[in-house]
Amino acid sequence: MEIAPIRSTLQGEPNMADEDDLRSTLLAVADLARSAAEKLDGGRGATGNGHRPEEPLTCTPRALPDRLLVAAAQTAARVNPMNSPVVSGSASAVGASTDAVEPLRIAVMTSKYWRPVPRTLTVSFLEAADADLRARILEHMNAWATRGCIRFAETAVDGEVRISREGDGFWSFLGTDILHVPAGRPTLNLEGFTMATPESEYKRVVRHEAGHTLGFPHEHMRRELIARIDREKAYLFFARTQGWSRAMVDAQVLTPLDDADLIATRSDENSIMCYQLPGSITLDGRPILGGLDIDETDFSFVEMVYPPTPAPGSVAVLSTLPTPRAAAPADELWPTTEDVLVPMSS
């Protein structure tokens, strides 16, 4: 996951000569944000703004409260007039040049993120495990908490996160989806993990699965990375190495995430959320490296999604507001008082 350097662009105030540009940009962005949201609500948004109804605005706030649209547009314009938080990949649809949209290209989603406020998710183990093993798993899950406001803490039974080491493979339900998993069933699986498992596997697997629990999707499912894959080679490779049908390869590897489900910008093949894929199936012969540990862009991402501490005198920033879809549990749709605030300077 790679994000634009938001914090570095926060420094400094726009000068007076920029005010008119800022104002017009602000109005355009606010209008665009509202149009995009309306379009998602029923295709009514693409009128009178010069964009064609059949042209999808691929990165749009699906459920952003009205109260945040203008503030978000204001902030986006103040941070960097070039930023257009809701128009990723669709510059022509908004009358902007591609260059003007590229620097940030922030997409807003999201479906399965937790509220962006400090929180402890409880963790229990479904099978007996020694204290040192439990502590080691928790320690790796909490690698994310060194930079984000959500941490994991063990509880004896009935945790929100329930770990099994006896199920098949490595997986986790995504973010708030763990709340839908019936009690007593695992939400996160670490097949065969013991104290003898190498530290590198704890970093690669436990941190990856904890990332899913925080709501982070697979990085290798990004459109840019999938575009590097030779489809026919992929079908042959995965049939041989995984026993997969073409349909399974399509579903597991070749179907990109919906842009509307993304917050971050450009792809990061070193993300801990990115699977390794071999050079034998890429068009350029270079492997998709995959992440072996949480990298700096992952950390920047978790800081953005789950900011450690809102600062006083802050204003809401659209690009940092994960917004659960309606399908999220009702208690994950937060009230106004819990809007994320991000400082406007320094």
């Binding site: 199920g167 098949d168 493979g169 939400t187 097949e191 065969g192």
Partner: protein
């Protein structure tokens, strides 16, 4: 009466299993290669899923790790059970002989 037999991930696969038409065997597998011939059908592989508040199915994120073998017709089939720890990592392939008897 058809049987549903779920082999846990930790269980070592036998070299051969005997089943009757209609039986279903669940096993840990990233994928299973099944020969044509109508003796065995493979379903999956699957990831675990759950039901959300709106009645929609939601799934875990990861490499699918469980498949179902359905005994469809009498005969013998040799299936290849594949397991891996990642899409580019090493995978193991284990041959499993499935002998299916007619339902009786």
């Amino acid at each position: 009466m058809p049987l549903l037999v779920d082999l846990p991930a930790s269980a070592e696969l036998p070299a051969a299993v005997s089943a009757t038409v209609g039986d279903v065997i669940g096993l840990a597998a990233t994928g299973v290669l099944v020969p044509d011939g109508g003796v065995v059908e493979v379903l999956g592989p699957f990831l675990p899923g759950a039901l959300d508040h709106d009645g929609r199915l939601t799934g875990a994120q990861g490499v699918p790790g469980r498949a179902l073998l359905v005994a469809r017709g009498p005969g013998t089939a040799v299936v290849e059970v594949i397991r891996s720890r990642g899409l580019a990592g090493p995978s193991t392939t284990t041959s499993l002989v499935v002998e299916v008897a007619a339902a009786g």
